[in-house]
């Protein structure tokens, strides 16, 4: 994509998550104590405060929960929330698409965007 993204600065707390991103796997944190997934990734489960959080590979699919396209940006882009099968809704960009055809409820699939100076980041594109 044309738009230059700000690089993420991975925190030590999420080193394993970001290493998986660079290896091409989106991990969704899941609590072994309460069984719930969460987003964004944290060391302590935000549902029950347990520190027994494991990373589970996402299936790589999802559904658009909502989106907003910025047609007047220097490089137009689309920000979105995508609900993934693991049960959380993730902030992202929808890329490689005609934004005029996007719809809430539409199926999308995971893709990756290279970012200068940082790890690659998850994006979604119409399935």
């Amino acid at each position: 994509m044309a738009r230059k993204m700000f690089p993420s600065v991975p925190s030590a707390e999420n080193a394993a998550f970001w290493a998986a991103c660079d290896a091409g796997t989106l991990m969704v944190p899941k609590c072994k104590s309460c069984g719930k997934s969460h987003w964004y990734p944290r060391a302590l489960c935000p549902h029950c405060f347990s520190d027994q959080v494991e990373l589970v590979a996402s299936a790589g699919t999802g559904v658009i929960y909502s989106f907003s396209h910025m047609p007047r940006a220097p490089e137009p882009y689309t920000v979105a929330y995508v609900t993934v099968p693991e049960g959380v809704t993730i902030l992202t960009n929808i890329v490689d698409c005609d934004p005029a055809t996007l719809k809430i409820g539409q199926a999308v699939k995971l893709t990756w965007a290279k970012v200068e100076g940082g790890p690659q980041v998850w994006c979604y594109t119409p399935a």
Binding site: R3, H69, V79, N93
Partner: protein, 390 residues
């Protein structure tokens, strides 16, 4: 302990400037403070509490306190929940007064985003990497406009809300702004004007967005004894509520705001209901902000906001719920990118009977002011205030 009846808003001042390239932010804060004290009939030496938020330059309230040389303080607070801060500050000031910790609390807001050339709502800015969400979000360029755009898109999907219905909110604000000589945008606009303005962040058009203005405002909250010793009409705080709302650990729901909880607290404390409100100041960073807050505060059922705001229902003298009779953030003023204090100021004008005669609500005895601060689409603060003329 309830704050009902324990504090009064004795002074209110909105800076007349909308562009202040020759003033400093600190100077604007102080000019607003002086204006509110003069309005109340009090002096700087009467102030024993000071509250500000993140727009005040310095470490919390400390640098502005020193700049203004407020040296009798025994209460200070700088809770920053964005544009909703100043509504919550009134409640915190009332709590301090009720607890005997202060008698005269000064609240200030000021900033100059217009002079500084900020593309406030549309230009992506790199976030602080220490903020825990930054590393997961900033790469996607969530800016203010598209965060609210996602809320509007979901509302349309869930409830069939239309761009025309949202446009009515701007139309109502413009009808009010034509009477405000200080308003940044004074032209009355139509639904078509809004729909035909450039798309900024789908489905929000340029005229769905608030202005970017320099300026500020200040409030003076006092004990009942002091308020009754002054010559101004009495505006009593009777209820308040505050609530955060975020992404709930990934269980994102954009269909409602923190107003569901902050409103419920304020209604319960005040002992009044939406039908009792004669005038409402509703935070209008975007048209969708107003629509969601009206639903969440209970002025209409969830999903019915579009129908509620249509056909001029928010226009003073025309509709059932006159709102933002100063022209609001959509037309009048959004100083420092934070519209909370102007929401309280216009409610005070209405309760005093000092709004412009063309928009003054007859017998305005109970008013509500509500603010949303931060990003409706990610995480925000919500504050509700209910006031009564005594």
């Amino acid at each position: 302990m309830s704050i009902k009846g324990k504090a009064y808003i004795a002074g209110a001042y909105e800076h007349p400037t909308r562009k202040a390239p020759d003033k400093s932010v600190a100077q604007l804060h102080a000019e607003c403070a002086a204006g509110a004290l003069a309005d109340a009939g009090l002096t700087k030496d009467d102030v024993d509490g000071y509250v500000c938020a993140g727009d005040a330059p310095g470490m919390g309230p400390i640098n502005m306190i020193d700049y203004m040389n407020l040296n009798k303080l025994r209460f200070m607070d700088s809770t920053d929940v964005g544009g909703s801060s100043y509504l919550l500050h009134v409640a915190h000031a009332a709590q301090a007064i009720a607890a005997g910790r202060a008698n005269v609390v000064l609240i200030t807001l000021a900033g100059r985003p217009r002079s500084e050339g900020q593309a406030t709502g549309t230009a992506p800015r790199a976030g602080n990497p220490m903020v825990p969400d930054t590393q997961f979000e900033q790469q996607y360029a969530t800016v203010t406009a598209n965060g609210y755009g996602m809320c509007a898109a979901r509302h349309m999907y869930e409830y069939g809300t239309t761009s025309e219905q949202l446009a009515w909110i701007k139309v109502a604000a413009s009808h009010h702004a034509q009477y405000n000589p200080h308003a940044m945008l004074r032209d009355v606009v139509t639904v078509e004007d809004v729909i035909n303005s450039p798309m900024v962040a789908t489905p929000l058009h340029r005229l769905d967005c608030c202005v970017i203005s320099d300026g500020g405002g200040a409030l003076i909250v006092t004990s009942p004894e002091i308020a009754k010793s002054l010559k101004r009409p009495l505006v009593k705080v009777i209820g308040a509520g505050e609530s955060p709302k975020g992404q709930m650990g990934g269980l994102v729901d954009l269909t409602y705001s923190g107003a569901v909880r902050s409103g419920a607290q304020a209604w319960a404390e005040a002992g009044v209901k939406p039908a009792d409100i004669k005038y409402a100041s509703i935070y209008d960073s975007f048209t969708i902000t107003v629509l969601m807050q009206l639903e969440d505060l209970g002025f209409c059922a969830k999903g019915q906001g579009g129908k509620f705001v249509a056909d001029g229902n928010l226009i003073s003298g025309v509709g059932k719920l006159p709102f933002n009779t100063d022209g609001g953030g959509l037309c009048n003023n959004h100083p420092a990118n934070r519209g909370g204090i102007t929401k309280v100021i216009e409610a005070v004008r209405q309760l005093r009977g000092e709004a412009h005669p063309k928009v003054q609500v007859p017998n305005c005895d109970i008013a509500l002011a509500h603010g949303t601060g931060g990003m409706l689409g990610t995480r925000h603060g919500s504050a509700t205030l209910i006031m009564e003329r005594e």
